[in-house]
């Protein structure tokens, strides 16, 4: 396949994922609103938000790194998405997964976070580093069960190639990691709660304490870029989880259904539980999910 076709496919893939991710965001806002007893914004509100913020007349920048922060963030989302094969067996949605395996995806997630943290840092607002310090700290802790779960996968499937992992789960629903290695899935799903930063792990954006945290200084198109990324990035993470634990998807519909359901786990927990304090959140991840993660490794490696 020549490079231009590849890029063309990638563009299609990215656009679809972004639209899906943003729409998902709208649905979730609606759900939260109903839980809170409100009517809630329309499902297309995220799209309106993006257009609106882009349309601001003034764009305040605090410096070059500030300017590049959202760029890094969006590039991180794009890259993470593009290194994941989205739909099993589809050339259009295979993206650039031939460049690297699961480890690449796991580390590319940091690309955007790091860049954004730097950009927000240059903004000079104290809430930014506070939010970032919380976010990075929490990240170190939920990475542990997730990493253990990934190691368990690597032991189970003898590969870190995402496509191969999906391939190994084909055939029957019982081939899903969910059923072949439930401990790994439990550990990973709990750490996903931290990744998605819904309550009780919403310590980074924590509106009542450090109003919206890191992106506080972001405005106009900077903010719009971040909002766009939020859609794509959520989609990317959900697709990764789907691929690793829930048998992947062979077509777009299956993908949408599965990722939606996966996301609902975060949403239900988020709607039901209040926020932790930072140290409570971190201690939580280092206890039960970590133990479950270790069990998952023992389960596949030694039993």
């Amino acid at each position: 396949m020549d490079i231009w076709t590849k890029i063309f496919y990638a563009v299609i893939s990215v656009v679809i994922a972004t639209i899906y991710g943003l729409a998902l965001g709208g649905v979730v806002r609606k759900i939260y609103a109903r839980v809170h007893g409100r009517y809630g914004p329309p499902v297309w509100q995220p799209f309106i938000d993006i257009i609106k913020t882009h349309a601001k007349r003034v764009a305040v920048s605090h410096g070059i790194m500030f300017y590049l922060g959202p760029v890094f963030r969006f590039a991180g989302g794009l890259g993470t998405y593009l290194f994941i094969p989205v739909i099993f067996g589809s050339a259009v949605f295979a993206n650039f997964s031939m460049a690297g395996d699961l480890l690449l995806v796991m580390y590319f997630i940091f690309f955007g976070q790091l860049g954004m943290a730097l950009g927000a840092g240059e903004g000079g607002h104290p809430y930014s580093p506070l939010g970032i310090a919380r976010g990075l700290s929490q990240m170190t802790t939920f990475e542990v069960p997730f990493a253990l779960s990934v190691i368990a996968l690597a032991i189970q499937y003898h590969t870190l190639n995402i496509t191969a992992i999906v391939a190994a789960q084909q055939g029957s629903i019982l081939n899903w990691t969910l059923f072949t290695n439930p401990f790994a899935v439990v550990a990973a799903m709990i750490s996903m709660l931290g990744m998605n930063m819904h309550s009780p792990f919403s310590i980074v954006l924590a509106p009542q304490e450090i109003p919206i945290g890191p992106p506080i200084e972001m405005n106009s198109s900077f903010l719009a870029t971040l909002q766009t990324n939020r859609g794509l990035f959520v989609a990317a993470k959900l697709i990764l989880f789907m691929n690793l634990y829930f048998g992947g998807a062979t077509n777009l519909v299956v993908m949408i259904v599965k990722t939606f359901l996966i996301y609902m786990f975060s949403v239900f927990v988020g709607a039901a539980f209040p926020r932790f304090r930072p140290e409570q959140a971190m201690r939580f991840f280092l206890k039960w999910p970590t133990i479950i993660g270790i069990i998952s490794i023992i389960f596949v490696a030694y039993l």
Partner: protein, 1037 residues
């Protein structure tokens, strides 16, 4: 050829006549006095030369015209000539040192001095037991008189104690001699056969030998000697400690054949005990001369144990061991005693005055290094052979005790050295000194410096390239007056030439490390061009360090390797010491490094022999190393690489070193432990050890990564932060090596190279920041991105490479790392590594944010970008990093080939794509995709907001209050306070407490033994008698 009997005759005659000459004039008597001493030395020099080179037979002098045993005979063999050469040498130079004193003193002191010298000569040469007693008494009496030359309370009481002890001891000796005569009917050493003695005869021998032995000041029957050392004039005490001791030691050596073996062994252990305990007691000592006293006693103990335990050794070895220790002790101790007389400071804490006289300080250092048995001085070779011999004879405990004693000795000596170098007190008056006092010291140091060349050339035939580090040091020292930049350029040229010389000798692994050591060192060296003025004592040490690192790669056999290892330790210690507040940190570094070196030495001693014409790095991989050897060497390497448990030297040493030096240490020196590990691992792959020791080393490495990372998170000082980061990163490397798999070894090398690039880069950028802001505390900075953009970019690229975020080379290392660990089956370990890798984001963000982002401080409004000399090497590193990130096969391919020499490759490299058994990684594609996805939003943003509105500092969305100052707006201090809560009790510094405890207990133990020395002469006598009784009981005769 002058008959040595004339020494005695001439000394005796002039001794009597001197007071008559003195009536004519002091000049005449002085001339005669020095003339006689010079004559003695001259005679001995000739004899030594003839016996050694011309190889004449030893001379037996029969007095009174009769052959022994009818008359007393003297012997002049090589050993006697050797001892007397040095004794007379010291005697003459001590006299020169005392020139001013002698000029004013009563003539009797000159006479006494001559008599003392004569006594010593006689003591060494005579073969008659009773004659020994006579000379012993002559020496004792004249010594006593010389001690009390200065009439103050201290010296009088010390002299009195000396007399008491000497009296008791010689009584025993005489009794012993009498009974020996009774049983053998003979007094001549060559005719007494103690083998035929009955029990009573043995008691006689016991008394006689103990008499001599106690003269050698064994613990605890040596309180009298300590008081003498402390109270006597420096010139005189040097004679007592050195000349007298040497002579009496030789007497002990002479009667050794008479001593039954069980007693001899006991005395050997007693000597060892003395060495260990006096080194221990020295730790608490604050008085300079008493400190040297402890050292003297210890050295004599060491000498005794050396001579006793090497009786069966081949002559070559025993000469090197006993001779080496002896010469080392004689020369270094005399010189140091003389310096105490010049400095005139009792307390070692006041020795900062030495800074007023740099040449003297350097001499002091030189002698101290010699005394500490560091290379290239004679003691080093002696210790090396001694330990090897002991291990070969299965006397492991003795070897370990010798090393523990040596370590304590180094501790107290270098505590003193650090105080002298670092405690500057400029209010103090200048040091008053004269040429007659300085010259002897300088001359001694000169002799000490020449001996190693002789040893290396004649005893070992070591290639003189291994002296290159020292030569570089000396040459730079000589040209010290030229400006720093020129010296820097010369150093760079030297490195280039050295690299050119080395290149044809190297291949594979050696070449890889040569690149790190020499090219890496050269690049970082550029940053030192920023130094202004003369910048003394810097480039020499720098070159010494890098050259010794390079020499490690071509060292053949254990000794050459160890020699360069020690050179590396010394030079890096001295480089650390240059830091402004580096007194304690460099000391801790030295102690840990020396301990590591000793472990290495023991490890080598246990290892089987290797071929001497193959480079050690290769030959050691071809032998089966015993387990104990692997463990000991590993411990040594763990210390050097600052792994968990022995890491506590790391943060302070890194932080307090000069900033460009830190870059060098982190970039290249930290790799030397890895080199060691790598070779051990390769050896273990083909020759499996009995226990899988590397599994545990792997865990140590893994735990180092996580604990190092957490320690880094909570630092406020950015150099400490980076130091802990290095500990963490080196932990990855150690763990990778320990896997003993192909991928593991490739990972280790890849990580090492990467670590050089990013740590060199970050440390240099940080050095520039510190240079401009004059602080290391991150919270005192902030917002520097606008003032120092290039430094910011360096740190940015550096931290991306550290963290492992794609597309930079750091990701390559992470990919290799996890692939290797999972492939090996070390699952839990890789989980911990994931955690550590995530934690590293915390400290990396803290570093870059606190320094460069956030709010700029008012005082930094006018800060400029770092100087070009800091920027230049950073650019080189950035280019290198970007190149290997984009074209990873440039590095992966050669590493795969290097490791392929030892173990079959487990990865497939196809173009830029690397495939392992688990996954794949195409660094080039990752780079391209990243560039692409980065450009998309960037172009979009540029399109949407071409022009942004610039705002001033503090123009931020701050609800309901106005930010007041950068200090209150910049989040930096205690940034991860919440994480401390998370860790709770896990965050306590347990390892530091442990080592503090070790230090505390060691000092207390030393202090405990010091309680023996009450200062009461009667108690001392009791000690002596009890000592004999106890030994007698132990012996169970």
């Amino acid at each position: 050829m002058v008959n040595p009997i004339y020494i005695i005759i001439l000394s005796l005659i002039t001794g009597f006549l001197l007071s008559i000459f003195d009536k004519i004039g002091r000049k005449l008597s002085m001339t005669i006095f020095y003339g006689v001493l010079s004559f003695n030395l001259f005679v001995m020099a000739i004899w030594f030369y003839r016996l050694l080179v011309v190889d004449v037979t030893p001379l037996l002098i029969n007095t009174a015209g009769f052959v022994a045993p009818i008359s007393i005979n003297l012997r002049m063999g090589l050993q006697e000539a050797f001892i007397l050469l040095f004794s007379n040498f010291i005697a003459l130079f001590a006299a020169i040192y005392l020139f001013k004193k002698f000029k004013k003193a009563k003539i009797s002191s000159l006479v006494l001095y001559l008599i003392l010298s004569m006594g010593v000569n006689g003591l060494v040469m005579t073969r008659d037991l009773f004659n020994i007693f006579v000379f012993l008494e002559i020496v004792s009496i004249s010594t006593f008189a010389l001690i009390t030359l200065e009439k103050n309370l201290k010296s009088l009481s010390a002299g009195f104690k000396y007399m008491l002890a000497g009296g008791v001891v010689s009584t025993f000796f005489l009794l012993g001699v009498i009974f020996v005569y009774y049983f053998s009917g003979n007094l001549n050493l060559d005719f007494i056969n103690t083998g035929t003695f009955n029990n009573l005869g043995m008691i006689a021998v016991f008394m006689m030998s103990l008499g001599i032995f106690i003269e050698l000041k064994p613990f605890p029957a040596n309180g009298w000697a300590l008081d003498v050392y402390e109270a006597t004039d420096s010139g005189i005490v040097s004679v007592i400690a050195v000349v007298n001791s040497a002579a009496i030691f030789y007497v002990f050596y002479k009667i050794m054949p008479m001593i039954p073996n069980n007693l001899l062994q006991l005395l050997g252990y007693a000597g060892l005990l003395t060495f260990v305990l006096s080194s221990l007691m020295g730790l608490k000592q604050e008085n300079a001369k008493r400190l040297l006293g402890y050292s003297s006693i210890g050295q004599m103990g060491l000498l005794i144990s050396a001579v006793v335990f090497t009786t069966n050794a081949p002559e070559f070895i025993s000469i090197l061991i006993v001779g080496g220790f002896l010469v080392n002790h004689l020369l270094a101790k005399a010189g140091l005693f003389w310096i105490t007389g010049i400095v005139k400071k009792e307390k070692i804490a006041d020795w900062g005055v030495l800074n007023h006289s740099k040449p003297l300080l350097i001499l002091f250092g030189l002698l101290l290094f010699a005394l500490a048995s560091l290379p290239p001085f004679p003691g080093f070779w002696a210790k090396w052979e001694f330990i090897r011999w002991l291990i070969m004879e299965k006397m492991t405990v003795v070897a370990v005790l010798v090393l523990i004693g040596s370590l304590c000795e180094i501790a107290f000596l270098f505590r003193w050295f650090n105080l002298a170098v670092k405690k500057e007190d400029l209010q103090e008056s200048q040091i008053e000194t004269s040429h007659s006092m300085n010259l002897p010291v300088a001359f001694l140091a000169g002799v000490l410096a020449v001996i190693p060349v002789i040893i290396m050339k004649y005893f070992y035939q070591i290639d003189l390239i291994h002296l290159a580090p020292v030569i570089a040091l000396i040459v730079i020292f000589i040209i010290e007056i030229i400006p720093s930049k020129i010296k820097g350029i010369l150093s760079l040229i030297t490195l280039g030439t050295y690299g050119y010389y080395l290149y044809p000798l190297l291949s594979g692994l050696q070449l890889f490390f040569a690149v790190i050591f020499i090219i890496g060192g050269g690049i970082i060296l550029i940053s030192t061009f920023n130094r202004k003025g003369l910048n003394q004592n810097f480039y020499g040490l720098l070159l010494m360090m890098i050259l010794s690192l390079g020499n490690l790669l071509i060292a053949k056999g254990y000794l050459e390797f160890f020699l360069n290892w020690e050179f590396m330790t010394i030079s890096s210690y001295l480089l650390f010491l240059r830091g402004k507040n580096a007194r304690n940190s460099s000391f801790v570094y030295l102690i840990f490094s020396i301990a590591g070196a000793y472990l290495l030495m023991l490890g080598f001693a246990f290892a089987p022999a290797v071929s001497s014409d193959m480079v050690l790095l290769k030959s050691i991989t071809q032998i089966q190393l015993p387990l104990v050897s692997i463990i000991l060497m590993s411990l040594g390497f763990l210390i050097k690489s600052g792994s968990l448990g022995v890491h506590i030297w790391v943060p302070d040493a890194y932080a307090e070193a000069e900033d460009d030096v830190t870059a060098l240490i982190a970039g290249i020196l930290s790799k030397v432990g890895i080199l060691g590990f790598f070779v051990l691992a390769v050896s273990a792959i083909s020759h499996k050890p009995d226990i899988d020791i590397f599994y545990w080393i792997g865990w140590i490495g893994v735990l180092s990564t996580i604990i190092g990372a957490f320690l880094a998170v909570f630092q406020e000082d950015m150099k400490r932060l980076l130091a802990y980061s290095s500990m963490s990163q080196i932990g990855y490397i150690v763990a990778s090596v320990a896997m003993l798999s192909h991928l593991g070894l490739v990972t280790a090398l890849y990580l090492s190279f990467n670590h050089l690039l990013f740590k060199g880069l970050i440390f240099l950028a940080i050095a520039g920041v510190i240079y401009r802001t004059k602080t290391r505390n991150m919270y005192e900075m902030g917002g520097l991105i606008k003032k120092m953009p290039i430094s910011y970019i360096s740190v940015l690229i550096g931290i991306i490479a550290v963290s492992g975020v794609p597309p930079l080379s750091g990701f390559g290392s992470k990919w290799l790392l996890y692939s290797a660990f999972i492939e090996k089956g070390w699952y839990l370990q890789s989980g911990v590594l994931f955690f550590a890798s995530a934690v590293s984001f915390l400290y990396l963000y803290r570093l870059i944010h606190s320094v460069f982002l956030g709010q700029l401080k008012y005082e930094h409004q006018n800060v400029k970008e770092a100087p070009i000399w800091f920027i230049l090497p950073q650019l080189i590193f950035i280019i290198a990093l970007m190149t290997i990130s984009t074209f990873p096969n440039l590095i992966i391919q050669p590493l795969n080939a290097i490791v392929g020499n030892y173990i079959d490759s487990s990865i497939v490299i196809d173009g830029y794509k690397v495939t392992s058994s688990l996954g794949y990684w195409n660094g080039n594609q990752v780079m391209m995709v990243t560039m692409g996805v980065f450009m998309v939003p960037l172009l979009l943003l540029l399109l949407l907001i071409g022009k942004t509105q610039k705002v001033k500092q503090f123009n931020i969305v701050f609800a309901a209050e106005r930010p007041e100052s950068p200090q209150t707006t910049h989040v930096a201090h205690n940034m991860y306070a919440h994480y401390k809560k998370v860790l709770g009790g896990w965050g306590k510094p347990r390892i530091l407490s442990f080592w503090n405890g070790v230090a505390e207990w060691t000092h207390s133990l030393g202090n405990l033994f010091r309680q023996f020395y009450t200062g009461n002469g009667q108690t001392y006598i009791l000690h002596i008698i009890l000592y004999m009784v106890v030994l007698y009981i132990i012996l169970g005769v």
